[in-house]
């Protein structure tokens, strides 16, 4: 007989088991960073898939977000006659918050889902078992390069996103809405601090990269070996990585104020 208490117990044990196996997976990937053979070729290929291929969507979205931020902040600030502060408002919002978070969400959609689906398909077609037969560790050969590549490309993509967004804000603010170009840049530069804002933003992006890389590869690696399992793993990777990114973002902001 199962009571709600039983169900609660089962769920809790399942959750803790899941967290435990995720931690083990993470530590195995960490171990792969220090155990030869190192495969720079694999890492480079994954940087191409995860980084270069996400470039178009990240830059386009960055410019669009910057332009919207420009319009919205102009509408709000012009009520108080404070259009000069537009640069600092757009810059602070983008660098501290929107840049890393939106980049992470875009990368989850573009590269994270592809990673989970790719590994899931390899599980379903027993390619990972094949690797094991050749005494190649599938985590070392397949999962680790993907996770590391996502971690490495995230700060680069986030910086590009922010640059495109700042340019988008400038284009809307200065030539279109007629804010003074010099005061846009001055307020932008005086509002942002290198050690607090820029380094914090890159650190956030790096942490999100670790999260997205680990969750996407883990979900793919542990997917059921059939097509339904692969699709479930892909959806799970996107949902869990997105939620984890937003929650960790809150935790980082609350604890360290960046």
């Amino acid at each position: 007989m199962t009571t709600p208490i039983h169900t609660l117990g089962q769920r809790s044990i399942g959750l803790i088991q899941g967290l435990g196996s995720f931690s083990l997976f993470g530590s195995r990937i960490l171990l792969c960073l220090f155990t030869p053979p190192f495969r720079p070729r694999r890492l480079l290929d994954e940087c191409f898939e995860g980084g270069f291929m996400s470039l178009a969507i990240v830059c386009t979205s960055g410019a669009a977000v910057g332009m919207v931020m420009g319009l919205q902040s102009f509408n709000a600030l012009s009520r108080f006659g404070a259009e000069e502060s537009m640069g600092s408002l757009v810059g602070l919002t983008l660098v501290r918050e929107l840049g890393p978070v939106l980049t992470a969400l875009l990368v989850i959609g573009r590269a994270g889902s592809a990673t989970a689906a790719g590994i899931g398909a390899m599980v379903a077609t027993q390619q990972l078992d094949g690797l094991r037969m050749l005494s190649i560790d599938p985590i070392h050969y397949v999962a680790a390069p993907k996770a590391v590549a996502l971690t490495l490309v995230m700060p680069l993509l986030s910086a590009l996103f922010i640059c495109f967004a700042l340019a988008g804000g400038y284009v809307i603010g200065v030539p279109v809405l007629g804010v003074d170009g010099g005061s846009y840049l001055t307020s932008l530069e005086s509002a942002l601090d290198f050690s607090d804002d820029i380094l914090g933003s890159l650190l956030k992006a790096f942490v999100f990269g670790i999260l997205v890389g680990l969750i996407a590869t883990y979900r793919g690696y542990t997917s059921e070996p059939n097509s339904e399992g692969v699709s479930r793993a892909t959806t799970g990777a996107v949902v869990q990585a997105s939620v984890a990114t937003l929650v960790v973002d809150y935790v980082i902001t609350a604890l360290w104020g960046i």
Binding site: L44, G51, G81, L166, S183, S190, F194
Partner: protein, 154 residues
């Protein structure tokens, strides 16, 4: 699908673009200062600094020439000591005056330097003698109300 060499090139370009973006954000936007030790460091005493903050711009004639480095309190006469750093190629006369102004109505406060006519120049570590503190809006309104009040009474 690009071949291996093309792939390497594209990844290289991507990494380069990312690093350029980080460098731009760090140096230009974030103001990671490399001219730090080379700049001319000056101090100025103010009765009231208002909302002046560290890293606020220092301008001459509306052109940014440096930044405010530190704001401390002189514990003897309770005045604010503002340490600022300006471009060391700037030859400021020693009767330069400093005033704290506000950009726009709600804008940030900045430090404006007005060079005088003295032949002697300010050197590194010198103190700007002539200063004008920030105008605190509340006090100004208070004074205005008092003067209106006394005007009505007469």
């Amino acid at each position: 699908m690009p071949n291996s060499a093309q792939r390497d090139l594209l990844v290289g370009l991507f990494v380069l673009a990312g690093l350029v973006a980080i460098a731009y954000l760090s140096i230009q936007v974030g103001g990671a200062n490399y001219a730090g030790p080379g700049g001319l460091s000056l101090t100025a005493y103010f009765d009231e600094v208002g909302g002046l903050a560290e890293r606020a711009p220092v301008v001459v004639g509306g052109v940014k020439v440096g930044t405010v480095r530190r704001i401390d309190l002189d514990e003897e006469d309770f005045r604010a000591i503002v340490t600022l750093e300006v471009d060391d190629s700037l030859e400021l006369p020693d009767d330069t005056s400093a005033s704290i102004l506000t950009a726009g109505v709600l804008g940030d406060q900045y430090l404006s330097l007005e060079p005088g006519g003295s032949p002697d120049l300010l050197g590194n570590g010198d103190t700007i003698t002539y200063t004008q503190g920030a105008v605190v809006l509340e006090r100004l309104i208070g004074k205005l109300l008092t003067s209106f009040g006394s005007g009505d009474g007469e």
